[in-house]
Symmetry: C2
Subunit: 490 residues, 2 copies
């Protein structure tokens, strides 16, 4: 177990927090519920951003930037949206401070805003208010815009990365001429998210749709990807919403169709946030520290020299410089830690804590033998391998590690997804073997709410392409045509 | 003159605004002084970001993210800083809205914050408060952190890109063990900015230092790069501050030196913003639209097919696909505009307005002759050239355009920088031939202020490596050892 990090079996929540602090990912700030993302944590966000941004652009999207502050009245325009977002939000009421004469800085009451401004909790309102000016005809459609931004939701119970008052995210907001096209976009972006989660985060996800209860405020349909964490709780990792014409109606965004008829524009929105970093940590890491999939690791390979005399280091450095060039040509990031202020053992512990996928150790005897010691973070296995062909060996190993981390998470999910047909069994499993519970549900909001109240389990999603199967609702015994996925969730 | 854009000689300020609106760069939002950066404008910001981010990383910096909201009390901790920034700022006082029962959304008075929060106008305070926890010993130094973020200053008179209440920027905040190292960092980052301005924005800049009057609130020394716009007004394009130990003292950030003594940490900060896009537009564009230097143009080459029949288009498309591959291999971005909804003439006007550096037009006769028509945006010259070797020709031309745009701006600045020795002449030139005025100044804040009050001209900077020259202050006649640069400024 790493120093200062509690075991995850002992206290999963504390383990998660310790890990983030000790690995220098993030820390809390003096402002309630807001976090400071430290360089190591931020470098993972940069990798996430770069990868997703390319995927968005490859599917035809462009970036833009809309204001941080939204007039209060905008929140009244879409009825269900106001319920969902107006409640817990940061409100700007004044635009000036002043010195009170005694050296205290106070709010200047003469600088009160006529209309209060809200720090965006999400940008549908300001964006659809803007689209009204951008869209006249079907020729102006589709609009495929994404924004990378900070947003704020005044959360009462916060947790680093998973739920913070301010967080970083991307929000796509698209406008279409037809419902079909908007739905296709919603589904496409869900698939982009699933692809990213599985192939970069090494995180298997269930693609599904939310029940009406769990939909985004203002959406006709919310698609989501749901992942299972190591403590058996589910985590919603991304959502993609079909908004119908709700926002177009609220902000009067009409267009002339090809048939020369006026109609309201169809909308989607979709987003993922710094929460993904929380999911990444929770799903793969262990008591020794982070375990990062190579594709998102800021440092993929670290080299630690083991030497007593400077000439030994010079010898090792020569070898490492060649390796560096070979790896960089393959697009693999490598760090040579030649600090003389730290012992090799301390370095080993540090990179283990930071989740660097591969560690190369080289001593003088290795230089004589033409070998190095390779240590994998995921399996903690070590082997002595030849220096010859090392770059190719590393390249192959990184792929193997990426696959192994994914497979481990997939096996865990498999082992912790259970079909349940009995409510008592359902409740027992939630406590004794938490995970995804696949169960029949009668399709009513009342039943869903009652199960939630009694067990704290929610319907995470109705999986896409769900198998149709006759059954009885686990709570009411009423008939049902398909199983849905329940879990306690973050 | 482009449709809807006034001539810059007629009304420079209106021309600037028209150009931004008509070229789809940005627009004002319903929130006073905040702008919406549209996809075309944002794509230029993305190029600026990517280029600078690489330059920062190449000089050893890493990115991080600090909270948007700063406790009000933090602003009282550094005396000169509070004067500079606490005045015009957005103040968050509440964290909830509620429904008043009549369907109105109002601020919930029960959700009043104990301490008001300020939307960051700049992040020195929150960052130095954080650094206290990061720094114990000289071994923790230097810290070389940069942040890409939005900030807010409640500006009364706003102008798209140049001065908006919310803007996007980067802010570097570094911590050092010695004053010398911090000063070297300040100077290094100024040179990074100057390099970027000259070699990417094609904008010649004067490197200099601000007078005490014009320094950043809390800095011991402010370095800046100053550029001259086409209307003869100066624009500060970037600043780099040596903050001494001011913020370390305000936030009690001490460290143990190598000599085992406690000392306060030395600081720098440096930033550039979306204002650079304003500078880019103002310095190169003309009455027909934007003129973008190839290195920052989102589209470097546009190809417009001229045809009547579909088989002609197919023929042209085949050629363009090959060209595309060749250009992309050279890292050159190309757009093939084969829309059948617009005539070639309309496309020509659109790309002229958007400042695309090179336009390729290809008709059926060209296909027969093995030629294309190449049109440069900067010189508006056209030539018919062979299809053979076109990619290399384009590559060379883009370099030539980049150099030409820079040279034109450098010549303009040269022609509009005047040495003045007489105050009446100084005032006359400001009205009749505005530009940089190089004049002697007695070094006092009083004289500087008086000249500003009387002429609206400020000392833009004391150029680095300034020639030492005996002279008399232009206002007071007192002795002076060097000329400084005056101008009216944005």
């Amino acid at each position: 177990m790493s120093k200062g990090v509690i075991s995850k079996d002992e206290d999963y929540s504390q383990w998660f927090n310790d890990l983030i602090i000790k690995s220098d990912m993030a820390e809390y700030s003096p402002v309630r519920g807001c976090m400071i993302i430290k360089p190591y944590g931020y470098s993972i966000w940069e990798k996430i951003q770069a990868t997703l941004d390319k995927m968005f652009k490859d599917t035809g999207h462009v970036n833009a930037y809309f204001p941080l502050l939204i007039p209060k009245s905008f929140f009244s325009k879409e009825a269900s949206h106001v319920e969902g977002f107006a409640k817990e939000c940061a409100v700007v009421t004044h635009y000036r401070l002043k010195n009170d004469g005694d050296g205290n800085i106070i709010v200047d009451d003469e600088a009160k805003l006529e209309e209060e401004l809200i720090i965006r909790p999400t940008s549908e309102t300001i964006i659809w208010n803007t689209y009204r000016g951008w869209i006249q005809s079907y020729r102006d459609l589709p609009i495929l815009v994404n924004q990378w931004a900070n947003v704020m939701r005044w959360e009462m119970r916060t947790r680093l990365f998973l739920r913070t008052s301010e967080f970083l995210w991307q929000e796509g907001h698209t406008a279409h001429a037809t419902a079909e096209e908007a739905i296709a976009e919603t589904e496409q972006m869900l698939e982009v998210y699933a692809d990213f989660a599985e192939n970069f985060m090494a995180l298997p996800v269930v693609r599904g749709r939310k029940t009406p209860n769990e939909r985004f405020a203002g959406a006709l349909d919310t698609y989501c990807i749901e992942a299972l964490m190591q403590d058996g709780k589910a985590l919603q990792a991304g959502t993609s919403h079909f908004l119908g014409q709700n926002f177009a109606k609220a902000f009067d965004v009409k267009f002339t169709t090809k048939e020369n008829v006026q109609d309201y524009v169809w909308a989607t929105s979709w987003g993922v946030s710094t929460r993904l970093i929380g999911a990444l940590i929770m799903s793969h890491s262990d008591d020794a520290g982070l375990v990062l999939p190579p594709k998102l690791a800021p440092i993929q390979v670290v080299v630690v020299p083991i030497y007593k005399h400077d000439e030994e280091l010079a010898n090792i450095t020569g070898f490492v410089n060649t390796l560096k060039k070979e790896l960089q040509a393959k697009g693999i990031s490598i760090k040579f830690d030649n600090r003389d202020t730290h012992r090799p053992g301390a370095k080993f512990a540090e990179y283990e804590l930071k989740g660097v996928p591969l560690r190369v150790a080289i001593g003088s005897r290795d230089m004589q033998n033409g070998t190095v010691e390779l240590a994998r973070r995921d399996t903690k296995s070590k082997e002595t391998v030849a220096q010859e062909g090392l770059a190719s060996r590393i390249e192959a190993l990184l792929e193997e590690i990426q696959a192994n981390i994914y497979n481990k998470a997939a096996e865990f999910r498999e082992a912790n997804t259970t079909e349940v047909n009995d409510y008592e069994e359902f409740k027992r499993l939630l406590d004794e073997k938490p995970g995804f519970l696949s169960a029949h549900w009668d399709g009513t909001a009342e039943t869903e709410q009652k199960i939630k109240d009694e067990t704290k389990a929610t319907i995470r999603c109705i999986p896409l392409n769900n198998k149709q199967e006759k059954g009885k609702c686990i709570l009411t015994g009423k008939p049902s045509n398909q199983r849905v996925l329940f879990a306690r969730a973050y």
